[in-house]
């Protein structure tokens, strides 16, 4: 068998010329004869068997045959026109035997099938030798058709005088294995030849007579290439041809098979499916907000509220590495462009022991495993920013990608805001981010990658008259800047299918400054390092053990002069500048060590059981925690799976809450118990229904207190204690239509109740983002001619609101201080909004241009995002969210 395969490999595809058989043509009238003849197409080719003795002696040869083909495409007869040399090896018989088994699409003339006789050359060539012995050696490796002299003999000297390449329009990918036909009419005879493109899309023709030739290629799924070219005597015609795919549907991408699901709740979004969702500007993290279990937050709010947990309770990783900021300016745009990403995994709860330090959910943004086939990239231009992404292979084993993006909102705002405005933007919101990714695969067992990325945001304001804003504002300027960078090195070791180890290390710096002159500021400079290692051992096909270590180190310099800021459950509004306090620290070291071990076993081929345990140590609160977790899935039937999970989760209080001045250094960990149960139903390959009920019991939540403590004889505020409780329960439904039938989308619905009880409270109150009903309908439909229509419609119960019951005028502060009612006892009106996005792609030879119009809030729903009060809180008006907003952008890909 192996030898047979070898022989197939070394026998070159036969190439042929054809003539309309005279006896048949004679029967046609003259008019019909003048019509061009479409040559027969070889649809079932049987390779000639390489004669064993010739193979042994390493002898090459070729045989010219004449093949008669009838109207049905069957071979009627085969004659040897030019026998093989040297004789005696059996080349002739091998060629004739093979040709007798050929099947063709019949030749046609005027749409009618006709019998033809073709001249066919069978070449017997060995792989390590030039495929065609040719005096013109430069193109020896190009498979080429040749016109035999008079259709019956090989010329003494063959000249390659037509040389072309066939590529996909727009992407420049070479098209291999495509049959290219060149033909023309010569008197009553139509002459044509075929060649098949090689891996580089190259093809060639020999000894074409001078004159005009028609070229035809009809690759499957592409519009045909129909063109004509001139062959000039004693010149070689060189040409590149681009054929256009019938549809550059973004959903034509090859999507990796669904990874084995272990968790009770996990949604994986491929980057291709999120790019064209309206209202998200292709921002992958923003798309998370459309998944079940995630509450709606403001239009540009970057906080992700998962199953009634505060935004800070949800961890966001980039390939498993913690990042300080995921959005520019808290929600404007995520800091890593789409080009760098592969997919996003979202775990709203009951995540396995691999993830820790979070009591809410986990968002894990996965980087692309770089495997570019050519130098390419894109340039993305929209109203807010522009970005460029480039990637290229570096030999067979390496690749590198780089990206950069910068905003120009500053330029737009400065152009619009008059100089006489009460606030001058010295630096209007300006952001940029940059990424460099490289991979190296020395062999199948090792994969090394390095990723360097960072981001920088800045905003500076100048107040023309500070008193206009607040009488207690004594600063004439305000600014905020946030920057970070990280270097991540990763080594993936896969010596066998039974073992895999992933080692990562990252280091970098976070720098945050926000302030109002010298009056208020927060100046943080943190150096961080992380070491992560995860191993997976497959003991059998059904039993796997995974474990690892995750160590975080940071050292921070901080200068903070700040008033009291509102926490969850507390009304926001104007901060009381009389509560300003100051703290300063240098080289404040913090360590977090996490280890985990979990067993993944499949019992009876249908029951997956994943017990795991995680141990964490947090140096800032000098506390350790042990968190057992258990997930299970049971395949009831081919399309039905039931699932459930229970687990313990811990996290540290925030840095300000454990600060000696602003917080309480004696705080402990916050804790949550997650319970989930549900089922999945997949009626069709591309359709899944996931229904999950959940309950989350949170305890030891950090809660503000007026309690005092005696420190060295001095009475001080305790500020915070671990006295809060939380309770969240609900149901999540996700009906997802994966890439199929030109459509991709989902319906997600969440029914939930999220409650909190602060220290000292006797009654439960609503959580800040307690939204009873959250419904999202979302989809993108790929239309003909490279148009895509996307839509999103959301209906969400209004968020809780704390009413004002009056106000007291503080003459010293110069403003009315609101008197609030019970926290979150009121609700904003129901939110509903539809967004529509239209994409159109134009395909040029070497690149593609996509333009989009994204109309947010297309029916201008006057959604209430909060209330605005007059100076003494006796009148209020609804503060409305985003009005109808058309946004345009373009993206050029090459």
């Amino acid at each position: 068998m192996k030898q047979w395969m070898y022989m197939i490999a070394i026998v070159l595809v036969g190439l042929y010329a054809f003539t309309v058989r005279a006896q048949d043509v004679d029967n046609e009238n003259d008019t019909d004869v003048q019509q061009p003849v479409i040559p027969p197409v070889l649809k079932a080719e049987v390779p000639a068997e390489y004669p064993p003795r010739a193979l042994e002696d390493r002898v090459e040869s070729e045989v010219i045959l004449e093949i008669d083909i009838d109207e049905t495409g069957m071979v009627e007869g085969v004659q040897v026109v030019t026998p093989a040399e040297p004789e005696g090896y059996g080349f002739d018989d091998a060629a004739v035997n093979a040709a007798n088994l050929f099947e063709f699409e019949p030749a046609t003339q005027g749409g009618m099938p006709i019998p033809v006789r073709i001249t066919y050359r069978t070449v017997f060539a060995l792989a390590d030798e030039p495929l065609i012995a040719d005096t013109d050696t430069a193109e020896n490796d190009i498979p080429a058709a040749e016109e035999p002299n008079d259709g019956s003999a090989i010329p003494a000297k063959r000249v390659l005088n037509f040389n072309g390449t066939l590529k996909e329009r727009g992407t420049r990918f070479p098209l291999a294995g495509v049959t290219v036909t060149i033909f023309r009419g010569e008197g009553n005879v139509a002459v044509g030849y075929e060649a098949v493109t090689d891996a580089d899309g190259a093809f060639g023709f020999y000894n074409l007579a001078p004159g005009k030739w028609m070229l035809l290629a009809e690759p499957e799924g592409y519009f045909p290439l129909r063109t004509s070219d001139e062959v000039v005597k004693n010149e070689r015609t060189e040409a590149s041809y681009y054929v256009e795919r019938s549809d550059y549907n973004p959903y034509d991408v090859v999507v990796e098979g669904e990874r084995i699901r272990k968790e009770v709740s996990r949604t994986t979004l491929q980057i291709e499916e999120v790019e064209r969702i309206p209202g998200t500007f292709g921002d992958v993290l923003t798309v998370v907000k459309n998944l079940p279990g995630v509450a709606r937050t403001g239009a540009a709010a970057g906080n992700i509220v998962v199953r009634g947990s505060s935004p800070e309770d949800t961890q966001v990783f980039v390939d498993g590495v913690e990042v300080p900021i995921i959005y520019h300016f808290g929600g404007l745009r995520s800091v890593i462009p789409l080009g760098m990403l592969d997919r996003l995994d979202f775990y709203p709860g009951n995540f396995t022991a691999e993830f820790g330090r979070a009591t809410g959910g986990v968002v894990d943004v996965r980087l692309k495993r770089l495997k570019p086939e050519k130098f390419g990239g894109y340039v993305d231009v929209n109203l807010a920013d522009s970005g460029i992404y480039l990637e290229t292979p570096l030999g067979e084993k390496s690749a590198v990608a780089a990206a950069f993006r910068r905003s120009y909102i500053d330029g737009i705002i400065n152009a619009v805001v008059p100089d006489s405005a009460s606030v001058n933007l010295i630096t209007a919101p300006r952001y940029y981010d940059y990424q460099l990714l490289g991979t190296f695969r020395p062999n199948d067992n090792h994969e090394l990658s390095a990723f360097f990325f960072g981001s920088d945001d800045e905003l500076k304001l100048l107040f023309e008259n500070p008193a206009d804003f607040s009488p207690d504002l004594t600063a004439t300027s305000g600014s905020t800047s946030t920057s970070f960078y990280r270097t991540v090195l990763e080594h993936r070791y896969m010596p066998s299918r039974h073992f895999e180890n992933v080692f990562k290390t990252s280091a970098g710096r976070n720098k945050v400054y926000v302030g109002l002159g010298d009056q208020i500021f927060l100046d943080l400079n943190t150096y961080v390092a992380q070491i992560y290692d995860k191993f997976t051992v497959s003991l059998s096909d059904n039993v796997k053990i995974a474990g690892g270590i995750d160590y975080l180190y940071s050292t921070a310099d901080a200068r903070i002069k700040f008033p009291e800021v509102a926490k969850e459950g507390e009304p926001g509004g104007r901060p009381d500048l009389s509560t300003i306090q100051y703290t300063e620290s240098t080289d404040q070291v913090s360590n977090s060590l996490g280890t985990f071990l979990q067993l993944e076993s499949k019992l009876f081929d249908r029951w997956t059981v994943i017990p795991g345990v995680r141990y964490d140590y947090f140096s800032r609160v000098d506390t350790s925690s042990l968190a057992p977790r258990f997930n299970t899935r049971f395949a009831l039937a081919e399309k039905w799976t039931v699932k459930g999970g229970v687990g313990v989760y811990h996290q540290e209080p925030s840095f300000d809450e454990t600060d000696e001045v602003f917080g309480n250094p004696d705080l402990g960990l916050e804790k949550a118990m997650h319970y989930s149960v549900g089922f999945e139903y997949s009626p069709l390959d591309y359709l899944t229904l996931d229904v999950t009920g959940f309950y989350k019991d949170m305890s030891d939540l950090v809660s503000r207190t007026d309690a005092t403590v005696n420190v060295n004889g001095e009475l001080q505020r305790l500020n915070y204690v671990n006295g809060g409780q939380g309770r969240v329960y609900g149901l999540e439904v996700m009906l997802k239509h994966n890439f199929a039938n030109n459509f991709n989308g989902w319906i997600s619905y969440t029914l939930s109740k999220a409650l909190r009880k602060d220290v000292g409270d006797t009654e439960w109150r609503r959580f800040d983002f307690d939204q009873t009903h959250i419904l999202t309908l979302l989809g993108s439909y790929s239309l003909p001619k490279n148009w895509t229509l996307g839509f999103r419609w959301r209906v969400v119960t209004g968020s809780p609101d704390t009413p004002r019951e009056g106000a007291v005028y503080s003459v010293d502060k110069g403003y009315y201080e609101p008197v609030y009612g019970r926290p979150n006892s009121d609700r904003l009106p129901t939110f509903h909004q539809a967004d529509v996005r239209l994409d159109k792609r134009w395909v040029f030879d070497a690149w593609m241009l996509t333009a989009y119009l994204d109309v947010q809030n297309i029916y201008n729903s006057p959604n209430v995002t909060g209330y605005q009060y007059n100076y003494d809180s006796t009148e209020r008006r609804a503060r409305q969210g985003l009005p109808i907003l058309p946004v345009i952008g373009v993206k050029g890909e090459f």
């Binding site: 028609m214 019938s246 989809g779 003909p784 009005p883 109808i884």
Partner: protein, 215 residues
């Protein structure tokens, strides 16, 4: 404002998608199209005359106004075109001035070869100034606008055209209405005009042509 008030938009999206989905199957893939006049990209310039009503704290109008619209897009298949549209009209007298316009998505259904029904949704804006002795009242509006248009396409030289011609130039009587609903200020406009439309046609390699014309 209730969800139902905008049922038009909400319905239009799934209806359009379904419509396109059902009828587009034949135009997908690399199948070649029969040559037709309404093929390729189109661009329309439409001078219009309009009657505009403003419904604010009191009703104003209707006023005659003049202006222009444009529509641009691409033929998706035999039944449907997709693109953008926009336009503005001005009404002016000694007592008032009204500028009213729109910009947004535009989908055209083609029940017959010469009849086009366009549906539009997008952003609308209006600026209405009314002058009374001593007082100048200004009402502005910014919000969603929906529209419907009907046109009958008369192609130039269609009698003499080749059956293999793709694209062409059409002059079309054109009528329609734009509605900008709002709780505060709504605008209603009814217009007539003539659309001058140029269809680029399809390149030869996308057309089902006899061989002698295909190359």
């Amino acid at each position: 404002m209730s969800v139902l008030k905008h049922a038009f938009t909400l319905l239009m999206i799934p209806v359009a998608v379904t419509f396109i989905g059902v009828f587009s199957s034949t135009a997908r893939g690399a199948e070649l199209q029969k040559p037709a006049l309404k093929q390729g990209y189109y661009f329309s310039l439409i001078p219009v005359g309009e009657a505009v009503l403003v419904d604010s704290s009191e009703n104003f109008g209707p006023w005659p106004s003049v202006g222009g619209q444009f529509r641009m897009g691409e033929e998706l298949n035999r039944w449907f075109d997709l693109g953008l549209s926009g336009g503005a009209t001005v009404a002016y007298s000694d007592n008032y001035r009204l500028i009213h316009g729109h910009f947004g998505l535009d989908g055209t259904f083609k029940p017959t070869a010469v009849l086009s029904i366009g549906l539009q949704a997008g952003l609308g804006f209006g600026d209405f100034t009314r002058r009374k002795p001593g007082i100048t009242e200004v009402i502005g509006r910014f919000g969603a606008t929906y529209g419907i248009t009907v046109s009958y396409d008369l192609f130039a030289g269609s009698r003499h055209r080749s059956p293999h011609q793709s694209g062409g130039f059409a002059m079309s009587p054109y009528i329609g209405a734009h509605i900008g609903p709002s709780d505060v200020t709504s605008i209603y406009a009814f217009f007539v005009g003539i659309a001058f439309t140029r269809w680029t046609g399809l390149p030869k390699n996308r057309l089902d042509l006899p061989l002698d014309e295909a190359f």
